[in-house]
């Protein structure tokens, strides 16, 4: 598949400069098509050929995320994202403030390229291992013209509108029907890293819609063993089937007994939704 990369190209920030360096590197070593955000913004048609049927990687320097926002504004599908400031934080490096990349910055570019390669490999390795029948019986909460469904058994929830379904020492997590309806049409899914070790309520992915952004906060602690890569191309599955095909990640459990203390069953979560729906209205 054709691949393209768009950096934010932030000229006046050290992280922005490194976003550009990473994009140049990916163009030179992996043959990605380079997209200039300024020209794209001014004249999108100039990149019609490069972006048609291409898998687009967006590289933002800082959390202002100018490149991501531009892609969203223009309705361009994004297959992957990288945030330089976050990578620097994870790696524990200080790239300084110079607008010309130094050795530390270039090492970070190497590390980010390696991380992208690892993510691509993980996408192949991290096959889902949890198998269960989709829910058939639901509790419902009706508020105004909205109806929110909650699987009556087999699922537990946190108050942050995420669910977990446990099979042995494995679990699958996702977001609730209430969460997906509150988000409206989900347009982007960012998976977490396979192999990541997370605490309860740590992020295991994030979602974006035209209306808002949501961190998926894991109901359980453990190690991420698979992510739903189907959502990268089809985030709408979360809207269509939040408890089934729209699952977010699979985990190997670490301390489920302890995690359960901060989880709700279907009846308790229904009451939580009733409260939230009423407050959202006012």
């Amino acid at each position: 598949m054709k691949r393209a990369v768009m950096p934010c190209n932030g000229l006046d920030k050290a992280y922005g400069v490194l976003a550009r360096e990473l994009a140049l590197r990916l163009m030179e070593t992996e043959g990605m098509h380079l997209i200039c955000p300024v020209l794209l913004n001014n004249s999108p048609v100039r990149y019609d050929k490069d972006l048609a049927d291409a898998s687009l990687l967006v590289v933002d320097g800082c959390p202002t995320r100018c490149a991501s926002k531009l892609a969203q504004k223009l309705g361009i599908a994004v297959a992957g994202k990288m945030l330089v400031s976050e990578q620097a934080k994870t790696a524990g490096v200080d790239v300084g403030e110079s607008l010309r990349p130094g050795p530390v910055g270039m090492q970070l570019v190497d590390a980010m390229q390696a991380e992208l390669a690892a993510q691509a490999q993980a996408g192949v390795d991290g096959q889902p291992a949890v198998d269960f029948d989709p829910p058939t019986r639901f509790l419902t909460v009706t508020y105004d013209k909205f109806v929110f469904k909650i699987p009556a058994e087999g699922y537990l929830f946190n108050e942050n509108d995420c669910w977990v379904r446990v099979v042995g020492n494995r679990a699958r997590v996702g977001v609730s029907d209430f969460a997906q309806q509150s988000m409206t049409d989900i347009t982007y899914f960012e998976p977490t890293r396979i192999g990541a070790v997370v605490e309860q309520f740590d992020e295991v992915g994030s979602l974006e819609s035209g209306k808002s952004m949501m961190d998926v906060l894991s109901p359980v602690s453990g190690r991420v063993t698979a992510v739903n890569t189907e959502l990268v191309d089809s985030p709408e599955l979360i809207n269509e089937d939040p408890y089934g095909r729209g699952w977010i990640a699979e985990m190997e459990l670490r301390d489920f007994e302890s995690d359960k203390a901060l989880l709700l069953d279907a009846a308790s979560y229904s009451r939580t939704i009733e409260g939230k729906a009423a407050q959202a209205q006012h």
Binding site: R65, E159, N160, D215, L217, K276
Partner: protein, 95 residues
């Protein structure tokens, strides 16, 4: 108005809200534009942005920090907050 409780614990007893580092904040207001819970409030005088309603903040949500270009927003330790919530729930159960 935010929820009054989180897992049965009164929200105002849970230490979870953003802190703004004013030495970094450039008052772009992206966090305030993002947050649907009115946690932040803009002021005419300095500082032009404050955490006015910390108890409106959704417990464990850190999404506003992701919108912050200069990385000026921080949150309390999540594991400490979890431990504190569990402890308050246990105490509640004993009463």
């Amino acid at each position: 108005m935010a929820e009054d409780t989180f897992m049965g614990v009164p929200r105002n007893k849970i230490n979870w809200a953003p802190t703004i580092d004013y030495s970094k904040c450039d008052f772009c207001m992206e966090c305030d534009k993002f947050c649907p819970h009115d946690v932040f409030e803009r002021r005419d005088s300095d500082p032009k942005l404050v955490v006015a309603n910390p108890h409106n903040c959704v417990v464990f949500c850190r999404a506003c920090a992701k919108t912050c270009g200069p990385d000026a927003i921080s949150f309390p330790s999540k594991s400490e907050t979890i431990a504190a919530i569990k402890k308050m729930r246990e105490q509640e159960g004993e009463q």
